[in-house]
């Protein structure tokens, strides 16, 4: 078995299994923790607060918007770009079809390139802000940088293989995908799943007290 066969075969299955099991374990763990019983009479709906908390945090509070516009633009550019390039890239849809048997209409090549550029621009902005802003630098640790760089390398190696001229380039991309999948559940990359619970918890707590989350 060659390098490409290994990273697309056994290593990928192992990485995908670790990703799925460990991420599910962490999410269930958070749900099982629940929250402390609140004996005070509710003044509002916790469920509505959960939903509101999730939705309202998509937009920054007025006083933060001006100061952190780079972060907001960078954050949205990266996450939306990544979503589009991952779920609507023709290669990714082929890959998903190969393993799950489902597929949908992919973006044309120019759309994929545009989404990639937006995602890269956003990710670079987020990372350089992390070390050039004193506060961000203070609250960032090794995990933040490793997560950012792994994601960057997964995206970069994928784009470098776009010409499909050499199998080894796809193999390198898959190697980084495998590493990323293994690293994901044990890092802050888990925020892709936990942000709903985190925002929801805050929202539900405030909502029950009759406050805007």
């Amino acid at each position: 078995m060659g390098f490409v066969g290994f990273v697309e075969g056994p290593l990928f299955y192992i990485a995908a299994a670790i990703f799925a099991l460990a991420a599910a374990w962490r999410v269930f763990g958070l749900i099982r923790m629940g929250r402390k019983p609140d004996i005070s009479p509710p003044k509002g709906s916790a469920t509505a607060g959960f939903i509101k908390g999730n939705l309202r945090h998509f937009l920054p509070r007025g006083m933060f918007a001006r100061r952190t516009w780079i972060h907001i633009v960078g954050g949205y550019a990266f996450h939306l770009g990544l979503f589009v390039l991952f779920f609507f890239g023709a290669f990714h849809i082929d890959f998903i079809k190969q393993y799950l048997g489902i597929s949908w209409t992919p973006l044309p090549r120019w759309g994929f390139i545009l989404a990639s550029e937006i995602a890269f621009a956003g990710l670079i902005v987020l990372w350089v802000r992390r070390f050039s802003d004193p506060v961000m630098r203070l609250i960032s640790d090794r995990d933040d940088h490793i997560g950012t760089w792994l994601t960057f390398l997964v995206m970069l190696t994928g784009c470098l293989a776009l010409q499909q001229s050499h199998e080894v380039l796809r193999g390198i991309h898959m190697l980084f995908v495998d590493i990323w999948l293994i690293y994901f559940p044990f890092s802050r990359l888990m925020h892709a799943f936990t942000f709903v619970l985190s925002r929801g918890h805050t929202g539900a707590t405030y909502g029950r007290k009759g406050m805007n989350p």
Binding site: I70, I113, S116, E117, F120, A121, I124, V125, W127, V128, R129, F131, S132, D133, P134, L156, C159, L160, A161, L162, Q163, S165, H166, V168, L169
Partner: protein, 354 residues
């Protein structure tokens, strides 16, 4: 008698000759003898297609001369730069500028381009070995001044990141064949070049975004002033002596405008290379590759100087781009006019003495 006849005959022949000559001149003047105006006489065994071969092609050259025909056929004079910039002549079938472009690229650019950045690195190393790091004379004061806000810092590092990716991938594309293939093999070079080409094409448009962002954030304060002349005459203080400067010194301003102006050329030529169907003349693309490579080598070479002064070469410089603040003593020493402008204090007087 004989003499009279001979003289008469001579006179008649002379008049006839003169008359024929005049007729010939007249015919030439009216253009009736155009075919005789060709400078090349056909060889004795040449076949005139108009004579005897009724079905063959006739007048194949039209009204053009041989040299005009071939010049037009190949698309103009490859040594004439003005013709390179003009549209392809009407009816041109091929261009020979490609051969000249290839020779220029292979024999000069690929051969010597790598030496420029290496030369700059060597000079910087030599300077560092002789002069060492430029220390802040009074040491760190512990008091800082804000120099660049977060938007400026992020735009700077965004440009730095994109430029690094473009620089590395671009150098592989340009110099892979002479530098990578002989040592690591053609297969490795092929893989790296294919990957680099995709990366370069992908990040190219981001360079334009970074360039515009940088321009907006840094243009203020980067216009040249009279005080910059002193900086030039004192060689920026790199060989001793104090040099006054405002927020940006002459070196920084030159670097800024070099990035912006060469960056515009790089963006324009890059767009043409990325979307070659925008032009219908191949020579635009040939010219673009030359300008693109030349601009890149220039920027990469000067970039090393910028990196050196911003990090190992000058104490306290990196803080301006990492923290956004600089030490007051650093500001007094390297940007005294700016220090006086933002603090309202004299840069030469000690604290508490004024």
């Amino acid at each position: 008698m004989q003499n009279t006849l001979l003289t008469s005959a001579r006179t008649s022949v002379g008049k006839l000759g003169t008359g024929l000559a005049l007729l010939l001149v007249l015919l030439m003047l009216f253009g009736a003898t155009e075919t005789y105006a060709q400078s090349v006489r056909a060889p004795g065994n040449a076949v005139n297609l108009d004579d005897g071969i009724e079905d063959g092609p006739s007048n194949a050259l039209g009204d053009d001369s041989q040299s005009d025909f071939w010049r037009n056929f190949r698309g103009g004079d490859p040594n004439d730069i003005k013709q390179m910039l003009e549209a392809r002549p009407e009816g041109a079938v091929l261009t020979t500028t490609g051969q000249h472009w290839r020779e220029l690229r292979e024999n000069y650019i690929r051969k010597y381009a790598g030496w420029f950045p290496l030369g700059v690195i060597a000079l910087l190393l030599l300077y560092h070995l002789i002069k060492g790091k430029m220390r802040i004379k009074g040491g760190f004061s512990g008091k800082t001044l804000p120099r660049f806000n977060i938007n400026q810092r992020v735009s700077h590092w965004f440009m730095a990141s994109v430029f690094t990716i473009l620089g590395v991938t671009g150098l592989i594309i340009l110099l892979g064949r002479p530098l990578i293939a002989p040592y690591l093999g053609k297969e490795v070079n092929s893989v790296l070049t294919s990957a680099s080409m995709q990366g370069h094409n992908l990040f190219g448009p981001l360079f334009i975004v970074a360039l515009v962002w940088m321009f907006i954030k840094f243009v203020r304060g980067n216009f040249f002033q009279w005080v910059d002349l002193k900086w030039i005459f004192k060689l920026g203080g790199f060989f001793g002596g104090h040099v006054s400067s405002s927020q940006f010194n002459f070196g920084e301003k030159s670097w800024f405008w070099l990035v912006i102006l060469v960056g515009i050329v790089m963006s324009g030529t890059g767009i043409l290379l990325l979307f070659p169907w925008l032009v219908d003349d191949l020579r635009w693309l040939q010219l673009s590759t030359i300008l693109h490579a030349g601009g890149a080598i220039l920027l990469i070479s000067v970039l090393f100087g910028h990196i050196y002064v911003g990090t190992a070469g000058m104490e306290g410089s990196i803080d301006s781009m990492l923290k956004g603040e600089v030490d007051e003593n650093w500001a007094k020493e390297h940007h005294d006019l700016w220090y006086e402008e933002v603090t309202g204090k004299s840069a030469t007087e000690e604290e508490g003495t004024s």
